[in-house]
Amino acid sequence: MSSVLVKFAETQNTAKKMANSGLLGSSIAKKYWMSLTGLFLISFLIVHLLGNLQLLDLSKEGQEQFNIYAKFMTSFPLIKITSYFLYASILFHAVDGIYLAMQNRKARPERYASYKPNRNSIWASRNMGLLGTIILAFIILHMSQFWYTMHWGEIGIDANGNKDLATVVIQTYQDGTAGLIMVLLYLIAMAAVAFHLYHGFQSAFQTLGINHSRYTPIIKTVGAAFSIIVPLAYAIIPVFVLMAKN
């Protein structure tokens, strides 16, 4: 009987080891997935920014052009497939990140009474979970305001017969106090994106094993520039829309 129990315990242990190893469960594998999904989300940031900078033209023609673009982005098959892949990546990056943060918390059950982390690391690197949570909350708000409305919500029709997303955007950020709050939330979220990228951009390369005396300084410089320029360019859009209110 006892030998059966020992055998059972061994099998359980092997099963546990198997589940935690390889490209599915190990600590390093979880980081590969964070890195790959993170890099994909970085590429999305560029495309999304370039498309939505069209909102800096708020003339009648500009708005109609934006609505044509919005229709294209929600109906062209290749982009639809990419968008499902994108939603999955956002969810996976968030779930994997929360799981990693929970495991990391468990790895140090007792905190230090005296702790001076600023002497050995930057704030953003230690607060990726907090920054990510802020960004996720913003993504939910942002998608409920525009993505949901575009697909299933109440939305007007413009002169070309397209769904009038431009007006939805303008109303969201120009609507009195509520609009002002939305602009502020947008700016807070972009600050979180900036700090998240400042650590995340170069971290993604290190996780994939890319650390080279010649290229790593370039990656870090590009990452720092990206983390400032891209969120700043995004932030210009709602501020511009708010300022354009007559």
């Binding site: 546990k16 080891k17 935690n20 190893s21 390889g22 490209l23 190990s26 600590s27 390093i28 594998a29 979880k30 980081k31 590969y32 990693l100 495991q103 990391n104 468990k106 790895a107 140090r108 059950p109 007792e110 905190r111 230090y112 009474a113 005296s114 702790y115 001076k116 982390p117 002497r119 050995n120 690391s121 690197s125 230690r126 990726m128 650590h199 170069q202 971290s203 290190q206 996780t207 994939l208 094993g209 890319i210 650390n211």
Partner: protein, 250 residues
Amino acid sequence: MDLKLKIWRQANTNSKGSLKDYQVKNVSADSSFLEMMDQLNEELIDKGDDPVAFDHDCREGICGMCSMHINGEPHGPESGTTTCQLHMRKFKDGDTIYVEPFRAKAFPVLKDLAVDRAALDRVIQAGGFVSVNTSGNTLDANAIPVPKADADAAFNAATCIGCGGCVAACPNASAMLFVSAKVSQLSLLPQGKVEAKERVTNMVNQMDLEGFGNCSNVGACAEECPVGISLENIARLNREYLSASLTSSK
């Protein structure tokens, strides 16, 4: 100099510990931190109190035994040193110094400031070796050519003294810097390449089983490392693990 100390006291692994206040007077600025602790312990013993338990061995910075989280950093405020090489001239008269054990789930407190770092030994046992014939027919070490750059990188990784300061410094209590140094020192050399895939897989598995946290590239480990092990080793570990996972037969 006279100092106030806040020292973590804990009777054993299962008991609850707390910070206790102590005072040491007339500490020489030339004494090491461990000698200051010795001075405190002699006073405690003279009074019939329980001396503070802490790890130490060589006291010349190469054994990796002395631990202690001093004023918010592993091995104290001086960079590139172990606690035995930290001198009291780094502190000022009247200072209050926090002295805590290395904190990690994988490093249970044995007593006071002494923690059990056997988890690191078990990671080594899982693969941190080269299988060689030790029956007497020793080969000449220079028979296999090793490029100078590889030898240097392997040597730099091999300077890891296994103190666990990286785990103590990491906000996630991750042991990646230690494991990456131990993987690198062998996988860079021809003798170590033979078992490279098995080694990295087994050592990472053991690291995970011990309950260390996940690396999030914070870099606190390398900043606090007493011997300057660099993050390039972690990148190498990430590369090796990826290639081993994709190409292993299991």
